[in-house]
């Protein structure tokens, strides 16, 4: 009988067992699936390009909870009616078939059943509020430099740059150039993946130091380095002597 080296045998059996195991583990399925970046058919052909790009409506005019809550919020139908007007009192786009769909629903007292695009798994807590209100000065020097929006708008440097610029551009750092989308879609295959989130978070001042010192063993080994300089780096005490949040701890988002 042919005998295979022990390492190969072990490796193969682990792979087989591991595959079986993963098949049975529903939680693991998310992160390893790329998210579809295809536009999805929506009940109303709402154009972000028209509303945001051409008419210059700010993101948070409609997504009104973004700076106040975990969710950014999908605009209530009354926001649409506010400009377009209901049947009988049509204002903007009095005779547009897509807008009429909305007016029909409004007349019936029904809401619009939008299809969800940006769907992060239930074990992640993403607070929009903390990101909209975040202090852009906390990025390390040079983060976001070298961005070329024309060549690679989804590169890390461009995302950080957009975030630093603030305003509606901060929304674009994750959601892409919504102002150019006829039909909204996810722009990044990795959207919501943890590595994708961490790319930016490691650009925050002190994060790399913190990461290096975070693992249990490293924490112990580095005990001797416990001087004021190191602590100031890792803890990023702000100018008012208060501690900046730790964004590398798993418990920050997963609980």
């Amino acid at each position: 009988m042919r005998s295979y080296p022990i390492s190969l045998r072990l490796g193969i059996s682990t792979l087989v067992l591991g595959t079986l195991f993963l098949l049975l583990s529903p939680l693991n399925s998310f992160a390893i699936f790329p998210i579809s970046t295809e536009p999805k058919e929506q009940p109303i052909a709402f154009s972000h390009k028209l509303h945001v790009g051409q008419n210059g409506i700010a993101c948070q005019y409609c997504h009104l909870y973004a700076r106040r809550s975990h969710s950014s919020g999908i605009p209530p139908v009354s926001t649409c009616v506010g400009c377009h007007g209901p049947h009988g009192q049509e204002l903007v786009q009095a005779e547009h078939p897509e807008v009429d769909k909305m007016r029909d629903l409004w007349a019936k007292g029904e809401s619009i059943p939008w299809v969800k695009l940006h769907d992060i798994p239930d074990f992640v807590r993403f607070p929009h509020k903390q990101h909209i209100n975040a202090d852009a000065a906390r990025f390390i020097d040079g983060a976001g430099n070298g961005c070329d929006l024309n060549a690679d708008p989804r590169s890390l440097s461009c995302r950080v740059m957009l975030f630093r610029n603030g305003g509606d551009q901060r929304c674009q750092s994750c959601h892409g150039s919504v102002q150019e989308m006829e039909v909204a879609h996810v722009v990044d295959q990795n959207f919501g993946g943890m590595g994708w989130c961490m790319q930016c978070h490691l650009q925050v001042e002190g994060a790399i130091e913190r990461k290096r010192a975070m693992s249990t063993m490293a924490g112990w080994n580095n005990a001797k380095d416990n001087d004021a300089r190191r602590e100031a780096q890792a803890y990023l005490v702000n100018e008012r002597n208060h501690h900046n949040p730790n964004m590398l701890d798993c418990y920050t988002c997963h609980y």
Binding site: T14, G18, P26, D122, G219, W220
Partner: protein, 995 residues
Amino acid sequence: MKKGLSRRNLFKFMAIGGTTAVAAGCEQKPEKIIPALIPPVDFEYMPNTGYQYMTTCRECDAACGMMITAREYRAQKAEGNPNHPHNQGALCARGQASLQTLYNPERHARPTSGGNNVSWEDAQSEFVNLVQQSAGQIVYLGRPAVGSEGNFIDNWLNEVGGGKRIAFNLISRASEQRACEIAFGRSDLPDYAFENAELLVNFGADFIETWGNTVQNARRFADMHAYNDGKKNRYVHVGPHQSLSGARADEWLSANPGTEAMIALAMAHAIHQRDPRHDFLSDYLSPYSPELVAGETGISAEKIQTLAEEFHQASSLAVAGGTWNSSEQATATHIAVFILNAAAGNLGKTLRFHESEQPSEDTSHSQILQLLSDLNAGKVKLLIVDDSNPLHTLPASLGFAQAMKKTKVVALAAGKNETNQQATLVLPALTAYESWGDAIPSPGIFSIQQPVMAPVNTFDARAREDVMIAAAKQINPQAFAEITNYRDYIYERWAQVHQSRYFGPFENFWIKTLENGGVFEAPRWSSAISLQNEVTGVAYQVPSLGGSGLALIPAPSVFHFDGSGANKPWLQETPHPISQIVWDSWAELHPDTAKQLGIKERSVVEIRTPQGSLNATVYLSYGIHREAVAIPIGQGHTSSGIVADGFGINVMNLLPAKTDTQTGNLAFVSTKAEVVPTAIKSYTVNLDGNPRQLGRDIAAATTVAALTSDKAGHGGGHHRPKEIVEFYPDRSETATYYKPYRWGMTVDLDRCNGCSACVVACYAENNIPVVGKERAAVGREMSWIRMERYLEGYQDETETRFAPVMCQQCSNAGCEPVCPVYATYHNPEGLNAMIYNRCVGTRYCSNNCIYKARRYNWFDYEFPAPLDQQLNSSITTRAVGVMEKCNFCVHRLTEAKYAARDLDRDVQDGEVVTACQQTCPTKAITFGNLADPNSKVSQLAKRKPDLLADPDKENRDRQYEIFPEMNYKPAVTYLRKVNHKEVAGLYGNEHGAAH
């Protein structure tokens, strides 16, 4: 550096393998997001944000203030209203579980007539017809009114042509109230100032379980009894059954059943001899000298003499109440205790009355007995029942079931129970969470009950009072003029409160009331309280118990109350603090009695009285009189829903129809029962493992003497090694850890009563599934915090100790290094983080946890609708294959850190409160930042440095940690329970069998 397959790469490969295999079949369906039609104005709503609304808990008559957290317009967590002076932010286990009254899948879903679904219009017109046909002969049978609802129903009955309202509650204080009338000429109940007493003698009141406002009682008792700066007051429990309230006693006098009054009178006699205050008592007390009663009561004369002396000298308080005082002599027992208080000069000091007299609702059971005879005589044409349940709670021998058949029954009730199942017409009512109401539990305390959410959408229910108002208007168009619904009625009633006390417009007052949860005034005490000589007219006789065998004591349960708690999964799943039994009833027997009768622990016995017989599993306990058997009230349902039906037995069916001679209140201690062993196999699930600590000192104690003297006491249990050798420096010395937070907790075991409100609060806060009896039997219960109960000593010297144990968030945790996937690790803030999405379910961590704090999801547990609406939406609900455990309410920590960040500062002490700490009536749990030396938790956890080094002096310090010899360095510090004396067998002879 490394060759071959590193661990990390192995997992990567495994992940890729998994991907290719499943990629084809796992396309998720796109989810819909439905926005609001019109947004709520002024940001009264924000997604994922909790809003607090003040209301009133209506699970029992105590009517505590409640603060409900609602997210997405759904009530998700009940907490006490911090403004309410009675419960001061705390709630009991039943109050925590009131959410399961709201979301109970067994609620009446739609109106039914004769068992068939009908529309509300048809049901309403049928109701109107029934009321019209039976005008003048209507009986409204409901729970006792604490607020305006009693008045409202009386008004309603007047409007629809007359009728009678009967307030029914199995656990009634009518005898106590009657005793107040006789002894003090008062029509209300007294206020017992536990906190002012130095000696509490309790003649059987179950003040932690059901008697009065248990949350308030527990707090006041802890304030009195807890060790404070070298001083600890005493608590003596007199009665045949210890139960939970007696478990905290420093001394337990196991009096013969029904004879508590004699001991009270004998003590009064002894005091009267020395200090004759009330002349008219001389003759009354003369037959009760301690020597004369010693034989009858089973308590020696010396004991009574010394206790009386202590009672006289100290600032003292004697209380009575509860079911095992409720014999035929219940009123006489209360009067005896009032005489004792009067003789010791406690009136106006520890036993006091409000200045204004607010008559209590008459809850005497004589009314229901009258109703029974009226029903049998055909004098009642229509019986309207709400959520009270006389059919289940009254002894079957009374024949309520047969009597009910002689009339038409309409149920205006939220939940299903035995009584309203008999109704021909069922009108689903709303719960207290969804409707208006109010409560005035004592003078000057006006508590408002407002709807905290829209009615649960799965039930087509209407507010009880609104249904009644609509019916009254159909019958009599002039009825309730200017009122369209019950809210208007409450408005009118509160306008009177406003007029008599406040200036300014009503609208401002009303908004303020809703914000505060009511109007709370400081109590004013009456100075003119004296014992009246009418008391001599009440002759006490030792109650005669019929039948033969052991005295049967139906014991009140801290969870099930009169039985209304049994259909709430959390209350069934939480182990009873004394017996640690779940989903069941049991028969509590003294081990000596069991030996005599040839009964083994956890065997099934038959309990026989002349009224019937029932089978129950035996639980042996030294906390019961040798001539008695105790069975908890509240189980044995037949049609209250799947959670209640078929679990345990209904002890009330064993009782004869005897009543208190003075009030007609049902006598609970009224019969003896034969206890006969059977050959049936028991299936009772008991989660306590070993009731003995075997010297492990999990729930440790010390004595007042050891804490105050310089003499080195003996530290109990295993010690921390004298010299601690560490391979690695402490985490606090590293750059990454514990800056600026290290979360920690202290648990003061001298304040813990074992009431288990924390356990239920944790279920509610953390989406913990209920696993049921079968799974609990194989150790798969999911509670993140458990109430450990340990026994010390034997026979009459037995001491019961409680210790709530949750994840100890160790610094040298056993769980962390064994996790192969880094799903649990030490977080920079000192938590043993548990990352569900990393967990692959090896369960190594659980095996390596010395505190057994980890729980594994063996299944995808169900939250049957609409219970799923209660799930806390700010945390993950765990799926199958994932380990979980206490995380110090990390979502509350995160929210607090976000809030502090918005203010550009760090989280301050007291800003984060965990769910268990929040609900603790005695404030035994303290939580905070150990890295801040000034925080309350740091102060409490601090040890005296000179004592820390010397294990022999260990118990001169109250602080200890569980299993110090393992050097896991937990972040939870316990404070020892403080005893007055060393308990025999505290240490050394513990390594034996349980009993």
